[in-house]
């Protein structure tokens, strides 16, 4: 019975605090909202970055040209070695001399091919190595390039082509974007936690007299903390909903701007179903953790 009374009191008090200090409440909710939106966007960007670069560079692939005398079993053996050595290798496919000729013919101007004996077009068997962009990091990529560059000294390997000239640039861009993105995300997450913590502390600081008085009339520290936790949670829920709403609005707006079929082939679905749950969870977590951290430090130096 007393537990019910107390819980009801905490809920009332938490809600009352919010309405008593509308400025503080607004600061809290907006801090959380902005953090959620920024972190969400950056997460999305990081997630999309791979897809984008992949699409742009036409995939990260290597072509290992083999000597004409290399047979399918020998090639398969080489494939196994590649895969074993490099977990980043997603796929290795063997292509015969015939397939290579066909490919080369397609690359040549049609007028030229018409006048040409097919046998004149040079060709040789090759392995197409497709890399998994998600698994590569800067260091591994360097090692991989070196290792594959050295491959042509191996018996049976004729030459190694690094897909297009742009793979290196693409990869360095991807890697740079990732490092930058992870760094910015980290800064934002830290900033968010920091802001919530300090706003909570400023708010608690502003309530210092109130807290002191409550302690003097016999309130336990947890009696004082509970309404703040509830307050943080309510703010978190509000921020979760608000940020979801903002992203939903932006999605609608961005879509009309960006969705011109000719130019935008990148799917920009910011809000898969269930996303609202993530926003809510993030908001509640940040709100609760922030207020908890803000309080713990504070109540210690009060008696």
């Amino acid at each position: 019975m007393r537990a019910v009374t107390q819980t009801a009191y905490f809920m009332r008090q938490g809600a009352a605090n919010l309405s008593r200090h509308p400025l503080y409440a607004a600061v809290g909710v907006l801090t959380l909202t902005v953090s959620l939106i920024l972190v969400g966007f950056l997460g999305l960007f990081l997630y999309r970055a791979n897809t984008l670069v992949d699409r742009l560079a036409g995939g990260l692939k290597l072509t290992v040209y083999l000597a004409p005398e290399v047979t399918q079993p020998a090639a398969d053996e080489l494939s196994r070695v590649l895969k074993g050595q490099w977990p980043e290798v997603k796929e290795v496919s063997y292509h015969t001399e015939l397939e290579d000729r066909e490919r080369n013919l397609k690359l040549l101007p049609a007028e030229l091919v018409a006048d040409l004996e097919p046998e004149l077009v040079p060709a040789q068997p090759f392995l197409e190595v497709i890399l998994d962009v998600d698994l590569l990091d800067q260091e591994r990529a360097e090692a991989l390039v070196k290792w594959f560059s050295a491959l042509h000294q191996v018996q049976g390997v004729d030459e190694v082509l690094f897909g297009s000239q742009k793979i290196a640039a693409a990869f360095s861009l991807l890697s740079g974007a990732r490092t930058l993105g992870i760094f910015i995300s980290l800064v934002i997450v830290l900033a968010a936690v920091f802001f919530v913590l300090t706003t909570t502390r400023l708010i608690v600081e502003g309530r210092r007299r109130e807290i002191e008085i409550l302690l003097l009339v016999g309130a336990t520290p947890s009696f004082i903390r509970m309404p703040h936790y509830i307050e943080g949670t309510i703010q978190g829920i509000a921020a979760g909903l608000l940020s979801y709403g903002v992203v939903w609005f932006l999605q609608r707006h961005l879509m009309t701007t960006l969705r011109s079929e000719a130019l935008l082939q990148v799917p920009l679905d910011l809000l898969p179903p269930g996303m609202v749950a993530w926003f809510l969870a993030g908001g509640i977590l940040l709100g609760f953790v922030g207020s908890a951290l803000g309080l713990v430090r504070h109540l210690r130096f009060l008696r």
Binding site: R209, I213, L214, V217, G218, R303
Partner: protein, 228 residues
């Protein structure tokens, strides 16, 4: 009945070198009424702060209801305070809560239901003529009104011990007598009451034990109202 409060050789020195209490000893029976008086800075409020465990003595022992405050665990301080109704010299009202809510905190801390809180607070406000101010905030009250709110908050939960620090400093003579009568009535119902004051006129209206402090030392003890 045993001793409610025992101070034995209590010294309180603040950082900076001020000695607020200097080896002070006195005791108070359960149900007793005691005036503590003395000039500004004598240490009256310090006694009250020590009894509430807001501070620890530098030296000496304090027993409160037979419990040594030195060996009290931090976590049991709130439960100690719930048995003490304190009227602070500077009122200590919560500016952001209404008069009603300020008086209610004492009961809410105890976990009473909203219904009980409501009826008991209403009664206390009525007692001090504050009913029409129930929804006002402390900064909107006159000095005397604020002091009466502080008094109502201190006694609304009928505590066994009341510590009153200058409870009539902002009250006109009529109200002062009313408040003192209230405290004496509680004393007659068995409540232990300690009143720190320098209002000699008021003390002289009552025949009660009275301790005189000066610079943290006990310099006298007498029964007030002797001349009257």
């Amino acid at each position: 009945m045993g001793a409610m409060i025992v101070f034995s050789n209590v010294t309180k020195r603040y950082p900076g070198g001020i000695t607020a209490l200097d080896s002070l000893s006195f005791d108070m029976e359960e149900g007793e009424f005691l005036f503590v008086t003395g000039p500004s800075g004598a240490g009256k409020s310090t006694i009250i702060r020590l009894l509430l465990a807001m501070e620890m003595p530098t030296d000496g022992q304090i027993l409160l209801a037979r419990r040594n405050l030195r060996s009290l665990r931090e976590s049991s301080i709130p439960f100690l305070r719930r048995n003490i109704g304190t009227i602070f010299q500077d009122f200590r009202l919560i500016d952001s809560r209404t008069v009603f809510e300020n008086v209610a905190v004492t009961l809410e801390v105890l976990g009473l239901t909203p219904r009980e809180v409501k009826s008991r607070v209403a009664q206390a406000l009525e007692m001090f003529g504050l009913t029409r101010l129930a929804r006002h905030y402390p900064p909107m009250l006159s000095g005397g009104e604020q002091q009466r709110v502080a008094i109502a908050r201190a006694i609304v939960n009928d505590p066994p011990l009341v510590l009153a620090d200058e409870p009539t400093g902002s009250l006109d003579p009529l109200l002062a007598v009313e408040v003192m009568d209230k405290l004496l009535e509680m004393h007659r119902r068995g409540v232990t009451v300690l009143v720190a004051t320098h209002d000699k006129g008021l003390m002289d209206r009552y025949r009660q034990r009275c301790i005189l402090l000066d610079r943290g030392c006990r310099v006298g003890e007498h029964i007030s109202g002797g001349d009257a």
